[in-house]
Amino acid sequence: MSIAFVRTDMAPSQSPPTRSSGLVGWARKNLFATPVDTIFTIIGVLFLIWAVPPIYGFIFPTSLGGNAVAPGGTVEQCRVENAGACWAYIAARFNFFIYGFYPISEYWRPNIVFAMGAVLIVPLLWPAIPYKGINALLFFVVFPVVSFYLLNGGVFGLKPVPTEQWGGLMVTLIISLVGIICSIPIGILLALGRQSDLPIIKTLCVMFIELWRAVPLITVLFMASIMLPLFMPQGMTVDKLLRALVGVTLFASAYLAEVVRGGLQALPRGQYEAGASLGLSYWKRMFFIILPQALKHVIPGIVNNFISLFKDTSLVSIVGIFDLLNTVQAASSDIDWASPTQAVTGYLFAAFVFWIFCFAMSRYSLFMERRLNTGHKR
């Protein structure tokens, strides 16, 4: 009779075989699972070996093993065969890219505006910080007025700086901020108008939206900058930047209106009826019941619009406004920095700046979506 063996303690756990764990296991599972995977892995690695070193060499300065010329370098260093990016040129013309033709002695004025904008917008976007009402009032009403007088001058003994001299990132930010901020209320009103029961309002809104959506932004800008002056009385001119601002804003609001309408349609009819049965007026229903829900649905769409608006601002360069892209283009004909990679370096810089802003916007929208996600998560 055999004695049954009964373990009294647990067998010690063993680490999984090396073939299925750690780096090797990960590689076997993800890179070499099947022959097809293996082939693609090899192709991918070969591609990286082919592509990465030249890109690295182009972007990074000699001190990090690349061919680029670091800020502080000279044009002679850039003017060689197989030169990398000429970052020295970006550093030398950096002020031009930020302020355009703004007088150098007056740089403190845009600097104050930048600082003011940053100080006001951060708490506005940060949900935990209180006093949102005052903050919003400062940002949406006081800030634009103060900025305008500060930048434009002509009051309180400030030297007048006409908008022709504004430029660079400053103008890009002005156009996109004004476009974004003004298009929200106009877009919402258009979307509500389009759903209205009043035929005249409905028709006007539909016509407005369809007209602006049916023409390319570039046409709008051309009309504003070329045709409009011809229709005006002699000697009367509207500021070129203002014309572009109006064009961009109206264009953006038409798009935004359709995004908001998408949100409105996503709400069940019961929400509208519930509001009405409580005896709320139209505006109260909209602002307290419908819009908070509808807008939450369409945050990705709205931010998508803002990002594309931010990038579309570069189109104003074709009507001779010096936004970031146009200053980069104008500087690329700077003969003092003439070198083989001058233009490419400039465009790389512009792309990077655009990417920073767009990426920040997209991350913020993700954050907002998660925060407002009260029961709709899929």
Binding site: E164, L230, G235, K240, G320, A330, S333, D336, P340
Partner: protein, 338 residues
Amino acid sequence: MQKTLLTIALSASLGLTATAAHAQTLEAVKEKGYVQCGVTGGVPGFSAPDANNNWAGLEVDFCRALAAAIFDDAEAVRYTPLTSQERFAALSAGEIDVLSRTTTWTMSRDTDLGISFIGTMYYDGQGFMVRKADEIASSLDLSGAAICIESGTTTELNAADYFAANNLEFNVVVFTDQDEVVKAFEDGRCDVYTTDASALAAERSKFANPDDYIILPEIISKEPLGPVVRQGDSTWFNIARWTYFALLEAEELGVTQANVDEMLGADNPSIKRLLGVEGDFGAPIGLTADWAYRIIKHVGNYGESFDRHVGPATQIGLARGLNALWKDGGLQYAPPIR
């Protein structure tokens, strides 16, 4: 320098507005205190932002000269960068007072658009660039050479005509984009690169070794670039035109920015008349007697401006060529001031 559909479409409406013209540009300019000058978005040597973000260039100097003649202050200018589509509309609509923006003087523009060209600041034209190592001295030696050209441009047509007229074999390599053309030439895919001579010089300055390339002396097309004003205001037209002539006359008489004060005491009657020491030639154009003195004092003469922005000592390195004074064998010629 190409004509767009838009320009043609606009010309009809422009014609209407332009005849209603402002006869009072000078008064308006004096009242606002500055000259509004239309410039390019950045063409090196002609109008481009310099290291201190100020507009500079040969054509910018014309606007500064105009401001100097009127206000005794070359800085009393505001610049409006314009695209080639916008430029004539901006001028006709009164957004700018003078257009100084590498604009080619052609008959249709001069007669059709309600604008007037006041002269030729720069005689441009199509040229050829080759490698120095190829030892080509003249464009007549280019038979059979591979020529890089941007497709669909007048450049291509001009070159074809020139080669046919001179019985040369035309061997062309066509690209759709200016940058591609330059790249192909630099990489040795063709022997010759052709476009306007001023653009050739600007592109050459971007090469790693600009000295390895030469621009052949022949110019095969006419691209006279000049400032433009609105038609119908003869006072303003005269001011602009004689500002240009004063720049030329000063060079011819040897009056420079440096010696203009000494020259006030010169015996040469031509110099006396130019600087307003003798006679008052400013009054008929609504300016003071020392109008030309102011121009030279603030901006210098044409030769100085040329050397400063596009001449052989600059990165662009253009020779005077057709733009030399008439007495040096060029085309720049000013009627006498008397």
